[in-house]
Every structure is written in structure tokens, then in C-alpha cells.
């Protein structure tokens, strides 16, 4: 079954990056509808009805987030788009912005209208500089066509939209770190409360939403929130972009209706097309590097034996003992020959590099975890190191200002939980080699 497409319906159309082509394919119809026939609160109502949840990873209901926005008199409000896509395994926002930039621009204008923002920013990770150029070009076209600036489409609504580059820092995907960065500072997350909805950019009420979330507002306004909510399963409504990578035949970005079985997603030719080189599946990181890795038997089926679905609820079924999270939809697939410990090392190195250093449990813990995993891989580990690793990760989780602590701890915990024998094998195998070398006085031989 092919999924219904809402965001990538027209991404294959040649020249869709250009405004005139985009407009020929329903482009800016949601904006016209909103500005000409709806009040800002009615747009918010449709988003609430749609059940749309934040597509950056946390899955918080977007309508609710919008309704928290404080609206004091004569204080500007801001909408900031989080395009700091940096979660390993995730590249969907890049794809969307590159292929169909006007969808994001249209979503930004409609959302700004709903929130009463007169100035909005798209904060794009600095490494995506070529994407920044694409967006700036699209914005220029939109200004020229009267879709941005003063009195948009004769409605009396004004909006200025700017693109802001990041400087290379994963932490700026955390919304308060992003706002700090947008204010020209280091990306250190803020202590909450106050939440950005009350005191965000320059102390003003601010909504920060992911690229895909804002883009989804366009079909929601076009077709209505109820129509959107009919797609998907339960509280996982609508479609989701999944970034599929690793040992699969067809890596890429897929728009799925939430509810597709994981097994179908991995093996169907409509999606990943099965495991590369005919190998067997070993494990999947289903929602970006931060979410727990699951072995084959638990990613395809829940602990209760039900088929695992691509939904927020089904992927987290069983809690972290046997489940994971949908997260950002960064779907990393590993074949039977993959070393889980080595892959974990790349995650641990990543989080050590990306910790902002503000909270000691994260600053110290991430480098400690990296060193411990390295020691095990280098053959200098002890069995007690596995317990130590477990202990360190458990002392980061829940003890930091922002969720980077959890993001660093969860992959370590899950790897030990599901693949402990692999850690033990690295340690025991090297110990055996050392003993043999010692017995035969071979210590001067090269390291194995």
C-alpha cells in the first residue's frame, strides 16, 4: 500500500523550487484560504483538530504549544523555525527545504498569521549553507509576489521573514539554545520556566517549531484539521517524513502515513527495500541517535508479539525495557555484521563533542562514557566497566538543564540492555588473547 502524501506530493515536479511552478501545484492556496477566509484563531483551531505533533523529535501537540503563546499588549511575538537538523540519522528537513522550499515559506506565513507574529526567522544549521541560499531565493521570490512584506495579498497582515545561519552545534536544536544562538550567543540551553511561549526571543513570547511541523500546517489548512486527523492511527495523526539510512537497499526520505508496520517499512520496495547484500537485520535505531536501539525481534514486534507500527505509541510500547521512540524519524538500520559497540562509540563520541558543557553530569559523563567504550573496544576493558558505563549513564539522565543528557545516556543504556554479551565478548576475547600471549611469551607481537 502506498502512503498518502501531503508534504512530498509534488517534490518530484521539475522546477518545483520556483514560485511559479509551486503555485501551479496548489502552492500558496493555504495562505490565500487563511488570509481571505479565516481568523488567526480559526487557523489555530484547525491545527488543534489535526492532532499534529511536533516533528522535531519530542512529539508535543503543536496546537497546544501554539495556545500557550502569551499575548501581552504591544509586545512583539515571534515564530522561529527550527531547521538546525543535527540528530544523527536525520536528514528529512534538509530534503524538504531543498526540494520544495516554498512549502516551508508558505507554512511560515500561515503559522505567523495564526500566532500574530510580524517577524519570523528560520534558523538553519550552518553546514546547510547551500540550503540557506535556496531559502533566501524562495523568500526573495515571495516578497516580489506580495506574499511577504506589507499587506500580504491585500489582507492587512504584514510579515518579514529571515533566514539565520547556525555555526555548527547540535545543541542549538534544543529550542532555548537555538534562541540564545539567534541572539548572537553561545548555544547554552536556558533554565525553564519561563518557557519560550512566555519569554523567548529577546524576552518576547516565541513559538519554536520544526521544519516538518510548519510545513504540515499547509495541508492542514488546505484540507482541514479533521481530514488530517483521519490519517494515521490513534494519537499519531497525519504523515511523517522518515529518514532511512544504514544497511538498506534504498536509503532516502520517505513520507509515510503514521501506522505503517516497521517490517513493511524495512522490507517493502516502496520504502527501504530490504537489507543490503541480502544480509539479515540485526538492529534498528528508529528515531535518531538519541532513541534506544532495538534488536530485530523487538523492532519488528512488540514484547506482546504484536506487529510494531511506525507510530509514536507503538514504537514506545513496552517503555525502554522493550520499546523505543519515533523521535525525529531518523531510521538507522544495521545488518548482522554490525558491531553494536563500535556504532555506540560513534554516538558517544558525538555526544561528548556536542555537550555544551553547562551541566557537569553531561559535560563529565559524556566524555567518561566515550573513554569507557573506547577502552573496551581497544581491548583494555574489564567486565566491571560495563556496570560502570551503566552507572555513569544513569547519573546523567534527568540531571541536566536540557535533554541532551538523556539523549547521550539512552543509547548507552539500550546497547547494554539488549547487547550486553557483545560488550563482554570484546572484553573476554581480548583477555584470552592477552593470556595466550603471556603464556607463550608473545607479548612483543603486534596488537591484534
Amino acid at each position: 500500500m502506498m502512503s498518502k502524501k501531503l508534504l512530498l506530493k509534488y517534490d518530484h515536479i521539475p522546477g518545483i523550487q520556483a514560485l511559479d511552478v509551486y503555485r501551479k501545484h496548489e502552492g500558496y492556496s493555504a495562505l490565500e484560504k487563511a488570509l481571505k477566509s479565516m481568523q488567526p484563531d480559526e487557523v489555530l483551531e484547525e491545527v488543534k483538530k489535526s492532532g499534529l505533533r511536533g516533528r522535531g523529535g519530542a512529539g508535543f501537540p503543536t496546537g497546544m504549544k501554539w495556545s500557550f503563546l502569551a499575548k501581552p499588549e504591544s509586545v512583539p511575538r515571534y515564530l522561529v523555525c527550527n531547521a538546525d537538523e543535527s540528530e544523527p540519522g536525520t536528514f528529512k528537513d534538509r530534503y524538504l527545504m531543498e526540494r520544495i522550499p516554498h512549502l516551508l515559506i508558505e507554512g511560515m506565513i500561515v503559522s505567523s498569521f495564526a500566532l500574530g507574529a510580524k517577524t519570523s526567522y528560520i534558523y538553519v544549521r550552518g553546514e546547510y549553507f547551500y540550503i540557506i541560499k535556496i531559502l533566501q531565493n524562495a523568500i526573495k521570490e515571495a516578497y516580489a509576489a506580495g506574499l511577504l512584506g506589507k499587506n500580504i495579498l491585500g489582507s492587512g497582515f504584514d510579515l518579514d521573514l529571515y533566514v539565520q545561519p547556525g555555526g555548527g552545534a547540535y545543541i542549538c536544536g534544543e529550542e532555548t539554545a537555538l534562541l540564545e544562538s539567534l541572539e548572537g550567543k553561545r548555544g547554552n540551553p536556558r533554565i525553564k520556566p519561563p518557557f519560550p511561549a512566555v519569554a523567548g526571543l529577546w524576552g518576547c513570547p516565541t513559538v519554536v517549531n520544526n521544519v516538518e511541523t510548519i510545513a504540515a500546517v499547509v495541508p492542514i489548512i488546505n484540507d482541514g484539521g479533521e481530514a488530517y486527523a483521519k490519517i494515521g492511527v490513534g494519537k499519531s495523526t497525519g504523515t511523517k517524513l522518515i529518514s532511512a539510512s544504514g544497511h538498506i537497499n534504498k536509503p532516502g526520505v520517505y513520507e509515510i502515513e503514521l501506522g505503517v508496520p516497521v517490517e513493511e517499512f524495512i522490507y517493502s520496495d516502496a520504502y527501504c527495500g530490504g537489507i543490503k547484500n541480502g544480509k539479515k537485520l540485526k538492529a534498528v535505531v528508529a528515531g535518531g541517535s538519541s532513541v534506544p536501539i532495538l534488536p530485530t525481534e523487538l523492532i519488528l514486534k512488540t514484547a506482546k508479539g504484536e506487529p510494531r507500527l511506525m507510530t509514536y505509541e507503538s514504537l514506545s510500547d513496552g517503555g525502554f525495557a522493550t520499546g523505543t521512540m519515533l523521535g525525529s524519524g531518523g531510521f538507522i538500520v544495521m545488518d548482522e555484521d554490525t558491531s553494536i559497540v563500535k556504532n555506540l562509540f560513534t554516538f558517544a563520541r558525538f555526544y561528548r563533542h556536542e555537550s555544551c558543557g553547562q551541566c557537569s553530569p553531561c559535560r563529565e559523563g559524556t566524555s567518561w562514557m566515550e573513554k569507557l567504550i573506547k577502552r573496551i573496544l581497544d581491548g583494555n576493558g574489564k567486565i566491571s566497566d560495563i556496570d560502570l558505563l551503566w552507572d555513569v549513564q544513569s547519573k546523567i539522565e534527568g540531571k541536566t538543564i536540557c535533554p541532551l543528557g538523556e539523549a547521550a545516556a539512552w543509547p548507552v543504556a539500550a546497547a547494554i540492555r539488549h547487547f550486553r554479551p557483545e560488550f563482554e565478548a570484546y572484553i573476554n576475547q581480548h583477555n584470552t588473547i592477552k593470556e595466550v600471549k603471556h603464556y607463550y611469551r608473545l607479548n612483543n607481537l603486534a596488537e591484534v
Binding site: P76, E85, S86, E87, P88, G89, T90, F91, D93, R94, T119, R125, G126, E127, Y128, F129, Y130, K133, Y162, Q164, P165, G166, G167, G168, A169, Y170, S181, L182, E183, G184, K185, R186, G187, W202, S243, A244, S245, G246, H247, P251, G252, V253, V285, S289, G330, I332, M334, T338, K342, N343, T346, F347, R349, F350, H353, E354, C356
Partner: protein, 172 residues
């Protein structure tokens, strides 16, 4: 170089004004990251203390406010770089698809270790974390360009092309 000698050319000055206009009155410090990117592109691909002081003077902030930002973000080079800074992604999906082989190949071919610059100043290797190119792994970035689905043959022709082009890579 002294601060007096460091000044954006007219085209860059124009860009500075455009960037500063993106923020409300009094919030010009927000131009920090865009200006640092611009300065790095204009002044040989790295941020010397005098260049950072110059940016501080434009933003009307203390130099330390620029230093603390420049040292936080991974894209700002605080030392001179090779003409082409090859930034190779080493995180999970790229690692799964052979990033280490790519790194070793480049190290052998260019006869340098990661972090180092070739003797002719042309290339520098740098390991970086996820660049959002996981579905097209392995990959590296040079300036604002992504080179994806890399193979050894592809790398050979990319390096050859760049040697002929001989123009500093920048993000801007």
C-alpha cells in the same frame, strides 16, 4: 596584521548592512553568527583575534563576546586552514557505510593525518560529526558543497578538480 588593516570590502559592507537590518533596533548582536561566517569567508577562511575584534567593533560589543561565540561553534576556524578544508562525517550512518575507509584513503592519498594540512597548503582533513547526509553516506563537505555517496574513484576526481580550480572553499 593590525586592526586598522582589517576592513570588509564594499560588497561585504553592503552584506553587513543587509544582515544588521534583519533584527529589531538594539538587537544587532544577533548578527554575530552571520557576520562571523562572512568574516571567515572574506579573511582567508579563519578568524584571527584581529578579525574577531573587527567584528566586535561592528556589533559594538566587547571582543570577549565574540571570542566566546567563535570558540563554541565548530564551523569557525581559529587557525589558518588548508585552501580546501575537507570535513568528513564520522557519525553512525556514515561509519556504517564506510567513513573510516574514506578517511584512511584520504590520509594515504594526501599523506597527512586528519587535522593536518598538505605541504602545498591545498588540502586539510577534518573529522566532523553528523552533517545530515546519512542517506547518501559516506560523505564529506568542502565549503558549502556536499560530496555524497563517496567512492575512492569519486574522491580521486574531486581532488583533481579542486587542484585545478585552486580557489579557497568557504561556506558563504
Amino acid at each position: 596584521m593590525t586592526t586598522e588593516e582589517i576592513k570588509f570590502n564594499d560588497a561585504a559592507q553592503h552584506k553587513v548592512q543587509e544582515i544588521l537590518a534583519q533584527y529589531p533596533e538594539g538587537k544587532q548582536k544577533s548578527a554575530m553568527l552571520p557576520l562571523l561566517h562572512l568574516a571567515q569567508a572574506e579573511f582567508d577562511g579563519w578568524l584571527s583575534p584581529s578579525v574577531m575584534d573587527y567584528v566586535a567593533s561592528i556589533l559594538n560589543v566587547q571582543p570577549i563576546e565574540v571570542y566566546e561565540v567563535a570558540t563554541f561553534y565548530s564551523m569557525f576556524n581559529l587557525k589558518p586552514t588548508g585552501k580546501y578544508l575537507i570535513e568528513i562525517c564520522q557519525t553512525s550512518s556514515c561509519w556504517l557505510c564506510g567513513a573510516e575507509d574514506i578517511i584512511h584513503y584520504l590520509e594515504n592519498k594526501l599523506e597527512i593525518k586528519t587535522g593536518q594540512i598538505t605541504k602545498d597548503g591545498m588540502f586539510q582533513l577534518k573529522r566532523v560529526e553528523c552533517l545530515g547526509s546519512c542517506g547518501t553516506a559516506p560523505m564529506f563537505q568542502i565549503g558549502d558543497k556536499y560530496y555524497e555517496n563517496l567512492t575512492f574513484e569519486k574522491i580521486d576526481s574531486i581532488l583533481e578538480e579542486l587542484r585545478n580550480e585552486n580557489k579557497r572553499s568557504t561556506y558563504v
